[in-house]
Symmetry: C2
Amino acid sequence: MNVVEVSKVLSNETRVNILKWLKAPEANFPPHQDIDHFDDGVCVGYIQDKTGLSQSTISTYLNSMQQAGLVIPTRHGKWTYYKRNEEVIEAYYTTLKEVL
Amino acid sequence: MNVVEVSKVLSNETRVNILKWLKAPEANFPPHQDIDHFDDGVCVGYIQDKTGLSQSTISTYLNSMQQAGLVIPTRHGKWTYYKRNEEVIEAYYTTLKEVL
DNA sequence: AAATCATATCTATATTTTTCGATATGTCGA
DNA sequence: TCGACATATCGAAAAATATAGATATGATTT
């Protein structure tokens, strides 16, 4: 976990919101068509709808978040689901507390 | 305390280092000429020396850190001392934990 | 196999951030 | 009050980020 890299992700309102929403997918997103759970997170399209930004922008965001280790992608058919990576998020807190 | 604004500050290695160093000034900086304590933090010149960056860059950094509420400046004669603002740093942790 | 759908990647432009040198401001000492 | 010193601010160039449309890839459906 790289503090600077994670901080870059968090220095954008939309990306912070995505992480926030993914904390409670049932409350923030409609149910998926093919699956009846959010165990692997939420598909890109739903996240895009909620932000109002373009598909490519959201895909880029999610990619940077994945690079930083904050989210984990899982492919289900034609959809990619993204969920939070709680370990890395926790590690960010911990490292900040230690280092800062 | 604004999460995005603070995150922007933390998305730079040098600025993270400055906060780190200011946690233990005695260990990281030489004693000041005019004062024999670090109660108000460390003067800009010492911080600049330690980073190797230009005077104007460090002044800009410290200004952005102050805007974000992370540090508090105090003027002593011709020197400006900067110290950490523990309350805001703590608020950042707390808010992250809640929000994220 | 072709059309369709979801997502990723590429390319390009606009905006923001980084960083510096030059200059301004404020303070002290001669 | 004048020069020297510490810091702040200004203006500019380079680098990074944001964002979108176009296109590519991978999977499903017909």
